[in-house]
Structure formats: structure tokens, C-alpha cells
């Protein structure tokens, strides 16, 4: 098995797979982390009184604003609901990419290695 691992590691197509996967994973993960950070800022820095200023307080204040004048629903509710829907969407987007394009590349890389191992024997 170790022999196969070495063959795969030497294959440039493996590094293409790895680059593609890692670019996809980290792009999507940073979207999730940024949204979560936004959510935590909204909760952590919500200003106790109207006079508080500053970047974080201003971001957080938005969370408690009604969506329409006179409405009870605040932006925070909509953002929270939208984040859950967005996260589900990202997961489904990832699985389509990973089970399709990336897995096809992975199978090709394994096939390359098996062929090379046979030729060496």
C-alpha cells in the first residue's frame, strides 16, 4: 500500500485534485466562518443604548432593527433564517462537486497508480 501511496504522491494529477479540493473546501469554509463571525458580532456587541458608536456596535445595532417601520420582526431573525438556508445550500453545492468532478479525478489518480504499479512488475 505504501508503494501505491508514493506513486500517487508523485503524480501531478494528485496535486491537481488536492489543490481543487482544498480551494473549494476553504472558500466554502470561509463563507461559513465569516457568517458565523457576523452572527457572533451581532450577539456580542449589540449596543445597550443608542449613544454607543463604533464599527462593531454599528454592525450589531442593525441586528435589532425592525425590517419595516412598525414591524416586530428584526433583521436578526431574517439573517439567522437566511444563514441556515445558506449553509444547507453550501453543503449541497459541495457534495455535488465532491461526488462528481472531484471523485472522478480521484478515481483517475488511483487508476494511474495501479497501472504504473503493474508496469513496474
Amino acid at each position: 500500500m505504501q508503494h501505491l501511496y508514493r506513486l500517487i504522491h508523485a503524480n501531478p494529477r494528485f496535486h491537481e485534485l488536492e489543490r481543487k479540493r482544498s480551494r473549494l473546501s476553504w472558500t466554502l469554509a470561509s463563507i461559513v466562518l465569516a457568517n458565523t463571525a457576523w452572527y457572533i458580532i451581532g450577539t456580542a456587541f449589540f449596543p445597550k443604548n443608542a449613544e454607543t458608536t463604533g464599527l462593531l456596535a454599528d454592525i450589531a445595532r442593525f441586528w435589532g432593527q425592525p425590517v419595516d417601520a412598525g414591524a416586530a420582526t428584526t433583521w436578526g431573525i431574517y439573517i439567522g433564517l437566511a444563514q441556515i438556508v445558506l449553509f444547507i445550500g453550501l453543503v449541497i453545492f459541495y457534495i455535488n462537486k465532491a461526488n462528481g468532478e472531484l471523485d472522478a479525478l480521484k478515481d483517475a489518480v488511483i487508476a494511474d497508480a495501479l497501472r504504473a504499479a503493474e508496469e513496474q512488475q
Partner: protein
Amino acid sequence: MKKLKQLPLLFGLGLLAWAGSAAADVATALHNMFTLPADTSAINTKAVAMFFGFVIVSLGITFWAAKRTKSTSDFYTAGGKIGGFQNGLAICGDWCSSAALMGVAALIYSTGFDGLIYSVVPFGAWPLMMFLLADRLRNLGKYTLADIVSVRMARVPSRTLVSSASLAFVIGYLIVQMVGAGTLISNLFGLNYEMAQVIIGVLIVVYVAFGGMIATTYVQLIKAVLLLSGATFIVFLVLQKFGFSMNGLYQAAVDNSPLKVGVMQPGVLLPDPVNAISCGVMLILGGAAMPHVLMRFFTVPDAKEARRSVAWAASLIGYFYLLTFFIGYGAIAFVMKNPEFLDAKGVIIGGANMAAIHLAKAMGGDLLLGFISAVAFATIVAVVAGLTIAGASAISHDIYANMLRHGQATDAEVMKVSRIAALGLGVLGIVLGIAFKGQNIAYLIVLPFTISSTVFFPVLFLSMYWRRLTTTGMVTGGWLGLASAIVMLVVGPTIWKDIMGHPEALFPYKYPALFSISISFVTMIVVSLLDKSARAKAELASFDDQFVRSQTGLGAEGAVQH
């Protein structure tokens, strides 16, 4: 090295001492257990009947599953034969504990918007788990978290760390569930607390010891369907009252709540930024590395199915969390001002934890109350079963088979130890559940998430992503992080001030995760960089092989051999 080998033993002895101190309560407990409540009309017959239905079906499944549980692989991972959709539902069952239904509703009921941090932020753990961990975990692992780490790290020290932390995680979580169940049952079914502990304990041991992962999976699956449909129905009825206007519901909540518009705004539950950030980081990183959930990645045949099951799980759990936006506020609208659910002082009967349950009664009368009560009980039973199988695997696979017997034990011996471990955990659950009766267990809810984010997440993440991690670095950082987390929890406001009654807490924050995670990560990195031993060099050299396997699944457990 020799010292490290003694650790599981010491850990076990500590647990025994802990359990032993509870023995005095057992006599009173036994007496209480066989005394029926004076007022038997308090027993909710509809709820009891529906719960019995669940018990009979699940025992039938256990009987069927027991015949199919022949090897350790069947026991730990159902032979890796569960399909993606089924596994997704079962993961949803594992994840959505009673805390997700009743706890989030309770927090929204008493603090409004901030309670939703327990819905949205832990849900963020799902996409993270999917993008960064799921593939690699499935490709490297076999039965437990410790398997993944020991692909590259020295077997005994890494397994000692991971299995001890897993057991601490499982036991902390177990106590929360058992105490929650006891309280719930005395409120709902009118049965007494001790009886509830025994019923749950016995059911769990039967499911896990005989039916293994197959029975546990089906119990989770049924429970997930019941929970999702019950919660959907409540939300449907709540929104119907407002002509399906979301704003109508929130307006009613604002009108009823003493917080007024504050109920729709942040800033009540987590008033200072450090606690809020620490709590958020704990929920997202801790949620991404729970052993009883990650273990389910090994019940499917390959990484493709693992991804499919995560996608199903994330969709179902996300859907459930969407419902929590309406259940908690529904309780404010229909329970908070309703004299039927308030005591003489105007306080909600049974505490805020009962908000979701009262809402069920307000919406659908006794029948829906009975159904939701049965669902809540089934939820606890299923989560405890998932925890028990994770704990039993840590004991039999990590500690017994790999550390004490160095992989020389036969399949039959390991199976026997697994079953004994399941029995032991069931008994321990009952004893601890009774010992912690009526105590403030708030800190215990923070414990599993803190352990998961401080130990499991850094260990898994660095061992898979960072070439330079060495066993010494990992073990030093893991133990230091774990110890610092426990110390900070003990001297923090919840235990030191509220429970032990000291005037001031020595550590000012309720959520120590931000600090313990930093200690863990920094120590692992610094010690690994300083580690120049021969073992460290070998571990560094083996990273490439591990990396290829984690990316391709070649050589993974249960994968089709080419």
C-alpha cells in the same frame, strides 16, 4: 511512557470513587422508586401509551438487530452497511438532543433572540465538518476518533488522550441527559424520578449491548422522524393562529414578553463580548468534533456515502433549527400569559425547559401533549444510546483491545468487553442521574462542548492538516487544554460562585472555551516544533502517506479493494 499507561486506570478509579459517593443516595432512591405517586391521576395515560408504542417497536428492532450483530465491526459501525439517507436521519437523531428542542425554546422563552445562538452557531459546525473533516475522517478512521489520530501518531499516548477525553465527554453529556429525562418524566408522565432513570438505563443497555450500532441506528432514525414531524406540526399550528404571518407571531411575542421589543434583539443572555465570543467558538468548533456524531461516518461504506449522509443530516438538522425560530416565540405568545401553565406566582410550571411541551398542549390539547412528551422521552433515550455506544467503543476498542491487549484480543473477547462496557455505562448513568437529582447542571452542559472544542477539534484538525504535529506536541497540548478547561470551569462563575457559594469567581467567564482552545492549539504547535526526537521525525515522514490515504480513500476501512 509507563506513567501514561496508568492513566486510564486512574481515570476509572476516579469515576468509581465519584460513583461510590453517590451510593448513600441509592437507598433512598430505591425506596422512592417503588412507591407510586400518591396522586395516580397525574399519570398522563396518552403519553405513556405512545411511549410504550415506541419502546415495543424499538425492542422489536433490537431483537432483529441482535441476530445481525456478530462481529465487532457490526457492533461498532453496523458493518459499514448503512445507506447515506438512513445514516443522515440517524445523525440527525444523534445530534438533536432534548436540549435542541426544549433547551433552545427555554432560552428564547426567557432571554429572547440570544437563545437562537444555540441554533444558528452550532449549525455552522455542519458545513465546516463537511468541508474540512468528513472526507478525511472517513478515509482514515475505522471505529473511533482515536483510530484516526493513531494512523500517524504513537498508539498508546494518543489513544490514552482521546479515549479519556471521549469518556469524560460521554459521561458529562450522559448526566445532562439523564437528569433532564428524570425531571421531564416526573413532570409529564407523573412517574417518579428514580423510576425514570431505571427505565432509561435498562432500555439503553438492551439496545446497545444486544443490538449494537444497528439497533442504535434504527432507534435514532425513528426518533428523528418523530421529532421532526412533531416539531413541524407544532409550528404549523402556531403559524395557523396568525394566518401564517411570521410578523404576527413575533408581534404577539413582543406584546407578551416583559422584555418587549428586547425579545427580538440580542444582548440579554450573553451581555459581555468575551462570553459571547467564547460561547460561539465553543459551539461551532465543539459541534464539529463530537465523537458520537463523527463515529457515524464509519457506518457507511465509503467517503461518497459519508458525504451523502452529511448532506442529508445537515438538511434535516437545518430544517429543525428553522423550526426553533417559531417554537420558542410560540411559547412566549401562547404559554407566557396562559394561567393554565403558570403557578400561583405567575411562573411557568416545571421551569422554562417545559415551554415547548406546554406549547404543544396549548396548540393541540392532551393528544399533542402526549405525543410531544413521548417524542421528548424517545429523544433522550436515543441520544443516550448514541453516547453509550461511543463510550463503549472507547472502552472496548481503544482502551481494551488497542492499549491493554495491544491488538491481540480476539473478536469475541472484544465483543464481550463492549457489552460489559455498555452495561457499566448504563448502570453508571442511572447512579449519576440519581446522584445529580435536583442539582444545578448548567455547567455540565458546557463541559462536553468545551472538551470537544478544546481536545477533539485541535487534535483532529492538526493531525490531518499540519505535517509538523508530533505525538508529544499533541498529547501535551491536549492534556493541558483539557486540564485548563476543567480548572477554569471549576473556578468560574457557575461552579465557584453559584454552586459553591464563594462571593467572587476566580475566573470571570462562564465559557472558558476561547482560552482553553488557545492553550491547546498553541501548546500543540510550540511543543511539536521543539520536538526533535526520532519518533517525531518518523511521524513527520509518514504525513505524506496519511495525506494520500485521506484524499483518495485508498487503504481505508471498508473500501472496495482494487
